[in-house]
Amino acid sequence: MTENDGALLEIRQLKKWFPIHKGFMRRVSGHVHAVDDVSLSLAKGETLGLVGESGCGKSTLGRCVVRLLAPTSGEIVFDGQSIGQLRSRALRPLRRQMQMIFQDPYASLNPRKRVGTIISDPMKIHGIGDRQERKKKVEELLETVGLSPEHYNRFPHEFSGGQRQRIGVARALALRPKLIVADEPVSALDVSIQAQVLNLLESLQTGFDLTYMFIAHDLAVVRHISDRIAVMYLGVIVEISPAEALYDNPLHPYTISLLSAVPIPDPDVEAKRETILLPGELPSPANPPAACRFHTRCPYVQPTRCTTEVPELRKLGDGHFVACHWAEKIKAGAIEPIESTPIEPERQDPVEAPSA
C-alpha cells in the first residue's frame, strides 16, 4: 500500500505463526498461521477497525502491534522507529506510547488492587511524577472517563462491567499513549452500556490525540467508530476500505456474506434481508487453503486462479483495496453465485485460542 506521511504505524508483511507441539517429546508438528502476511498503516488520529470471525487472527495482530507478542517475520514501524524485532529492554520506552484495552473488564484488572493503584501503577513504573502528582492525575482521569474521584480507594469488584471498562480506559490513558489497541472493548457489555463506552472512546480521541486500532466482531459497532476498516479472514486481510465505502460497496465475497449475516433490529428490514449462508466451516489456520484462502467457502469460486494464485490486495476505489481475483466481475453481476454443497475443510485437531 502507499506510503503515508502521516502514518503513526506501518505494518509490513507481518507474520505470526504459533508452533503446534505434538506427543511426548513436544516435537513441533506444524504451525498455526495466525497472522500470515499482513500489511497496513494507521494515520495519526485515525481509527482503524479490524473485523473478522473468531480465530482469524485479530487479537494476534493487535498483540504484535503493541509488542506483547514478537512477530515471526515482517516489520512494524511505529512513529518512524522499527519495533518488530526489539527486545524487551529496548521496548520499555515504547510501552508508554502504545496501550491496549481488553475485552474482559473482569479479568484484566487485578482484583486485589485498589482502583487508584491500578491506574497509577503504570505511571509509577515509568517514573512519572511523585506520589501526590500521580494521585491528582488519577483523580482527573477518573473524571475524564466518567467515574468520580471518590472511586480512588475502591476495588474492581465494587464496579459494574461498564464501569470496569472505564477503569481499563483510564489505565490505558494514564501514560498519554499515542496508540491504543482496543481488543473487543465492548463485546462483553450490554448494549446500553456498550454505547456509553463507545461514546467515551470517541470523545477522548481528539482531546488526547489518540490513534485507535479497534478490534471487534460486531460489524455495526466497528462501522460506528471507525474511519477505515480492515476485514480479516484466516490470517490475511481480504478487504480494506474507508468505513462507509465498505458498507455501501463491499467488494470481497467474504465481506459481502459477513455483512449479509448481521441482524438488523427492525422486523420490516429483517423480512427483506437475505443472508448469504456460507457453506462449511472456517478451515484450520494450521493448514489454510492454498491460493485464495476463502475459495473453499466462496459462493463465487471460479475454476481458474482461485485455487492456484494468491490474490493480492488491489486498489478498486478511493482507498478501497480488495484481495479477490474476480471482484469487478462479481460486482458487475457477471458471475452468478453457486448454490454450492459445502467443500469440507480437512479435519484438523482444533487449536483453541488461549483465553484472552
Partner: protein, 341 residues
C-alpha cells in the same frame, strides 16, 4: 384463541443470600402458543435465565422461594413432584444454553448422548436410535454426520457443538424449546445459520420456542411476541411489531436507540442509557427504571402495573407517562424510526 401450551402467572423467584434477599424474578406473566417464538430481551442480570430455568424446575433450592404459577398441560410446574419434572425435561421441554458444554458431557461421544436421550424416552432399538441420531445431526446441518456422530464434543468447533446440542434438545420432539442466548458466543455467520435452523425446526415440529437474548436484532427476525425484562420484571410485552414500532417504555426506547444500525446512515453519537441496572437486593421503589429514566416524574415512585395502555389490546407496559407524551418523547431517543416509518 388457541389454548396456550404454557402459562406463566405472576411468577416471582427470590434467593436468600448472605447479602440479602435477591429478587431475581419479580413479576413475569406470559402465555406461549404452539408454533410461536417468544423473544425475551433485557440486560444481563434482568432475570431472563432464572425465569427460563424456573420453567423446568431447575432453580429449585432450599434458598429459593417461588410465587405465582407456571401451568403446563394443566399442572403447575412450581409444585410438581421432581419425578414428573424429570419426565418433562428433555422430553417435553428442552433447553439450549449459550455454552453447549452445559448439556453435552465431555467424556461421551456426541452420538451416544443423543442415542441415550432417545432411548430414555422411547422404546426403540439402539440401531434405530442411532439412525435417528444421524438424521438429526444432518437436519441441524452437521456435515459428514455419519462420521461426526462418533466425535467427542471437544473434537467439534463451537458452531458444531451448538448444533449438536440443538440436535440433542430436539431428539425427543419437544413441545417447547427454551434457547437461552444460543448464539451469543457465536460469530454472525454461524448465528444466522443457527437462527434459521431454530425457525425451521419450530415450523417442522410445531413446537414453541422461547428465545432469550440481549440482542434485539436476533428477535427482530424470528420472534412473534416479545417480552422486555428489566430488574426482574416484564416492563413491556406484546406482538413484535408493536414493540419495535410503537414501544411504550423509556427502557425499550433506550435499548432500541443504543444499537448502531448497519442499514442506516451513521449516527453522530449513539444514544446511551445512563447509569447501570439496580441491585436486585435493593430495588428502587415504584418503577424500577426510575433512577435511569430521563422522563421520571412524581408518580413514578408508585409501582406501575403491567397493563394495556395502547390501542392494541395485547400490548402491555409499565410506564405512567401519557400515551401522547410517550409518542412524543421517544423521538428524542429513536428519532430515526419515526422518520422512516
Amino acid at each position: 384463541m388457541p389454548e396456550p401450551l404454557l402459562e406463566v402467572k405472576g411468577l416471582k423467584v427470590r434467593f436468600a443470600t448472605e447479602d440479602g434477599l435477591v429478587r431475581a424474578v419479580d413479576g413475569v406473566d406470559f402465555e406461549l402458543e404452539r408454533g410461536k417464538v417468544l423473544g425475551i430481551v433485557g440486560e444481563s442480570g434482568s432475570g431472563k435465565s432464572v425465569t427460563a430455568m424456573t420453567l423446568l424446575g431447575l432453580t429449585r433450592d432450599q434458598n429459593a422461594a417461588f410465587e405465582g404459577e407456571v401451568v403446563y398441560k394443566g399442572q403447575d410446574v412450581l409444585t410438581m413432584p421432581e419425578s414428573r419434572l424429570r419426565d418433562i425435561r428433555g422430553n417435553e421441554i428442552a433447553m439450549i444454553f449459550q455454552d453447549p458444554m452445559t448439556s453435552l458431557n465431555p467424556v461421551y461421544r456426541v452420538g451416544q448422548q443423543i442415542v441415550e436421550a432417545i432411548r430414555a424416552h422411547e422404546s426403540v432399538s439402539k440401531r434405530q436410535a442411532r439412525r435417528r441420531t444421524i438424521d438429526l445431526l444432518k437436519q441441524v446441518g452437521i456435515p459428514s454426520a455419519e462420521e461426526r456422530v462418533d466425535a467427542f464434543p471437544h473434537e467439534l468447533s463451537g458452531g458444531m457443538r451448538q448444533r449438536a446440542m440443538i440436535a440433542l434438545a430436539l431428539s425427543c420432539n419437544p413441545d417447547i424449546v427454551i434457547a437461552d442466548e444460543p448464539t451469543t458466543a457465536l460469530d454472525v455467520t454461524i448465528q444466522a445459520q443457527i437462527l434459521a435452523l431454530l425457525d425451521k425446526l419450530r415450523a417442522e415440529f410445531d413446537s414453541a420456542v422461547i428465545l432469550i437474548t440481549h440482542d434485539l436484532g436476533v428477535v427482530a427476525s424470528i420472534a412473534h411476541d416479545i417480552l422486555v425484562m428489566y430488574a426482574g420484571r416484564v416492563v413491556e410485552a406484546g406482538p413484535k411489531r408493536e414493540l419495535f414500532y410503537d414501544p411504550q417504555m423509556p427502557y425499550s426506547w433506550g435499548l432500541l436507540g443504543s444499537i448502531p444500525r448497519l442499514d442506516r446512515p451513521k449516527q453522530e453519537k449513539l444514544h446511551s442509557i445512563t447509569g447501570s441496572p439496580p441491585s436486585l437486593i435493593n430495588v428502587p421503589r415504584g418503577c424500577t427504571f426510575r433512577p435511569r429514566c430521563p422522563y421520571a416524574f412524581d408518580r413514578c415512585t408508585e409501582e406501575p402495573e403491567l397493563v394495556n395502555r395502547v390501542e392494541v389490546p395485547d400490548h402491555l407496559d409499565r410506564c405512567w407517562l401519557s400515551l401522547d407524551d410517550k409518542r412524543r418523547l421517544r423521538l428524542e431517543t429513536i428519532a430515526a424510526e419515526a422518520s422512516i416509518a
